[in-house]
């Protein structure tokens, strides 16, 4: 690929053996072209330190970064019918699934986990773009429903990290049916009085945005994430002109009132924990240092209060 990979890789390969090797020790920032050392990047949650570019990460990495001490318990996904349409395009769908499983080590595009963030127990659902573009089919749909149901059962808030190119076309209409199906599950969570936070990551498009990804109580987007219903290419073909800079990016959605905040990956956990603790009415943690600075909570008493 370039002189660094050519030069460095064979040498380290021979020392460590292939299996432990990350694919690229040096990773190129797609924005600035700068080369960043893999380890530095990992310790920065795959946000390129100089440019702030947020790289795609796997579902497991996401959970590891998100939960306290990187500890979480994954939920088993419900079993669904595989390839009910017996679909094939240039390749058989079952083969595409097999490849995606081998590549990602996942059963499908969704990984659900239980864990705590700053001590608060939550359910987190992560969509992995590496698994067939994070596409939404029956397996992912049922996994998402299962996550919502688990959250209701355990009375925990739900956080969903969306990343998807849209519906899994190889499942035809059954993939489209995941839009209303997941909506049923999230409506029930809302009725149970539990909060639902959506984190929109790069990219989140298509049918996924037209359902659970845009129905959060609070929408948080990672900087620069592409978020939209129709893909940019489709829109360009429709209007036959070039799209404006920054179109369908997280900041654009924020400007247009579709997301509440654009938050760096490094700040996600603290932001979400802070908000959820308020929504869940978690008693405020003791504030050993702050309590001296911040005035004591106002106690409303009926008698001692001057009439204003």
């Amino acid at each position: 690929m370039n002189w660094i990979t050519n030069y460095v890789r064979p040498k380290i390969n021979s020392m460590l053996g292939r299996r432990e090797m990350p694919e690229n020790l040096w990773i190129k920032d797609p924005e600035s072209g700068e080369m960043v050392f893999h380890k530095d990047l990992e310790s920065n949650q795959f946000v390129i330190p100089s440019s702030g570019h947020h790289m795609k990460i796997s579902a497991r990495e996401r959970l590891k970064f998100f939960f306290d001490n990187g500890a979480f318990e994954t939920l088993e996904n419900p079993k669904v019918a595989t390839d009910p349409l017996k679909f094939r395009d240039e390749k058989r769908y079952v083969d595409r699934l097999k490849d995606a499983k081998a590549k990602t080590g996942m059963e499908d595009a969704i990984l659900n986990a239980l864990g705590t963030i700053e001590g608060l127990p939550v359910v987190a659902t992560v969509q992995d773009f590496a698994f067939m573009g994070g596409s939404l089919g029956m397996a992912a749909g049922d996994a998402i429903i299962h996550a919502f149901e688990t959250a209701v059962e355990k009375r925990r808030p739900m956080i969903l990290f969306a990343a998807s190119g849209g519906a899994r076309m190889q499942e035809g209409i059954l993939s489209l049916m995941q839009l209303p199906r997941t909506t049923v599950a999230l409506d029930r969570l809302k009725e149970a009085g539990l909060p639902y936070i959506v984190v929109l990551t790069n990219p989140t498009t298509g049918g996924v945005t037209a359902s659970y990804a845009m129905l959060g109580d609070v929408h948080i987007a990672e900087p620069g994430a592409l978020i939209g219903f129709a893909g940019p290419r489709v829109i360009e073909q429709t209007i036959r002109e070039k799209l404006p800079d920054g179109f369908q990016r997280a900041e654009y959605l924020m400007d247009h009132g579709m997301v509440d905040m654009v938050v760096s990956r490094l700040e996600l956990k603290s932001t979400i924990a802070r908000l959820l603790k308020i929504l869940m009415k978690t008693p405020e943690a003791s504030r050993p240092e702050k309590s001296e600075i911040v005035p004591a909570p106002v106690v409303v008493t009926t008698e001692a209060r001057p009439q204003a």
Binding site: E90, M169, Q170, I173, M214, L215, F229, H256
Partner: protein
Amino acid sequence: MYNYLDFEKPVQDLDGKIIELKKLAESGEAVDVADEIARLEKRSKDALRDAYKALTPWQKVQVARHPDRPHCLDYVDALFTDFTTLAGDRAFGEDEAIIGGFARFRGEPVAVIGQEKGSDTKSRIKHNFGSAKPEGYRKAVRIMELADRFSIPVVTLVDTAGAFPGVEAEERGQAEAIARSTSACLGLKVPSISVVIGEGGSGGAIAIATANRVFMLEHAIYSVISPEGAASILWRDTTRSKDAATNMKITAQDLLDLKVIDAIIPEPLGGAHRAPETVMKAAGDLIAKTLADFAAKPTDFREQRREKYLAIGRSL
């Protein structure tokens, strides 16, 4: 007379001959042509029956998109009285790709929402070819909320190639509008019926097609992406639309097998456009029967709808 589809070529040829003969007869030049006309008409009908005997999914796509096919407003005219259109989303604007309002259906109050494609250049532009923008879906939500408040059942007529993919639609939150509309369908306490009368195009369709009972016309299609779109993405070859149409299972018959829809409304020989009144009456009769069933057996319609959707795919 008709816009013939390419697989209807034999019918078109015969009909052409019939018209020529009729002209000859009128001009008085021809000898007795009545027998010949009758013979040709029978052959034309046979050819039509042959052509429609086993339509391929791709042929159904063409029938579903036929420009003369009865559209939403035709159904509104034929089936509803006192139709009172409501307009606007109360936030940005009015979108005539979706029409909606309140009406009487065989005397009983109903809310009607549907996509209208238009029937000539002018009306097609006015209705944006049936491709709605966020304000269209937000208007639909408004009407559903009103229907719920007044305990009036909702009937939707689905016919769209898809939601509009444009800059302004994205800017105003197309995805969110569709998601809210689907959620509004699911949240209705009143019963709802959805009829896919032509094209059920992906998210743009499901936004109003999520109902207690979903019906499709015999040659309607309902799909997660257009066959053209699937061909270009999955095959990277736009000429493979036929394969995409076949493999994605988009016909009413396939969807009934997959238990995604509840019933099929038969179309007259040669498709809905050859006898619009017949097909609209058939749709009306099924809507009437279904509404009567709802009235006879009141239940928790929201819960029934939710469970119905959760069950989709679980028995495959």
